[in-house]
Assembly symmetry: C2
Homo-oligomer: 211 residues x 2
């Protein structure tokens, strides 16, 4: 069995200091554009203009457009998770959960509810058409859900959360509420739906507290 043709992967090469910087600049410009217009709606010329680079630079660093899209997925995942820390790593109380979700709601309001979730939007667009993108999105959601589950598990280990609670399922449900809530908020241009969605799930978790 021969090596399957891997698209979007330029041969591993040494990057010079300036090279790394150019690469980053391209990813950031692409991420920004793709957040607003989608991956399919963002052209290479668009990215060239936004990043101030030539076409050859993009193809030099990413091989092809798909390669760039994959890099953007990973970049958005890293960026969004980093932005949520340290809160994300301390979701072991109802108050912490509410505070964390509330922040995302405020961010959504701040941008006028334009655009949904940076990861979710890419997921919706790319999950079906691009196998390698889907794989990275699976990993993105896993990396996001993990800390939520851990926080709930800690509450349970401490005896604060009922033994009957399925912490993994609750973490998934909360992530789903965030995604669905963001989508409804984006469409309705109001964060209310997001807040109601996450609030319902957190209320549910609260009802599972011991005592």
């Amino acid at each position: 069995m021969s090596t399957p043709a891997k698209t979007g992967e330029p041969k591993r090469q040494r990057l010079t200091k300036g090279g790394r910087k150019t690469r980053e600049r391209i990813i950031e410009a692409a991420a920004e554009l793709m957040f607003h217009r989608g991956a399919g709606g963002t052209s290479i010329p668009d990215i060239q203009a936004a990043a101030g680079v030539s076409a050859s630079q993009i193809y030099h660093y990413f091989g092809d457009k798909q390669g760039l899209v994959l890099a953007v997925i990973d970049h958005q995942t890293d960026t969004q998770l980093a932005q949520q820390r340290p809160l994300l790593d301390n979701l072991d109380s109802i108050e912490a959960l509410r505070e964390w979700c509330d922040r995302a709601g405020n961010r959504q309001d701040a941008r006028g509810c334009e655009g949904g979730c940076e990861i979710g939007s890419l997921a919706s667009e790319l999950a079906d058409g691009d196998q390698s993108a889907r794989t990275r999105l699976v990993s993105a959601f896993d990396r996001w859900e993990g800390p939520i589950r851990s926080g709930l598990a800690r509450m349970q280990a401490r005896g604060e959360l009922s033994e009957r609670a399925d912490t993994a399922a609750l973490a998934t449900a909360l992530l789903a509420a965030i995604q669905g809530g963001m989508l409804l908020s984006q469409v309705r241009r109001s964060s209310t739906a997001y807040r109601q969605a996450v609030s319902a799930v957190i209320d549910h978790i609260e009802s599972l507290l011991v005592r």
Copy 2:
């Protein structure tokens, strides 16, 4: 103030029997393609081939691609809601809610979890870039959420659901769980996330039952 330029609207004209049929055929082919590849990922030539029509027919009936996209949104809304009836109009018990959500989960399994929600996917793609599409999507979600809210309201009116329950917020939360759950299921290729998401919200509603 002059009439704003309305894109995508062919002049209101009488449609002959065959014309109506052609129009329907185009919408259905477009809806199917756009469900799998997105609106942006579906070209007019694609639709021509799938529907067996010429380009002039598409432009004759829909004005331009945006007009067709709007028609597809409305069509998917009508189709999806029709498919959920009569269950959708009788969501006034926990069992009815579970049965209704379960069906969607089974449909998702049946298609191997490829594709998410017919409306949600379009929403994610079009909400930001296309004002008239967003308006129709608002209406689509409202038409969907209404019957959910009504069912919950009936439960509350009958005294089965606590007075403290905010039926409107709960309906939104359930719709958000469906959307977010579908997205995670689509990415993970497993309906588990969907089922956990809706289950959490329905469990929450159940905990608000009187008694």
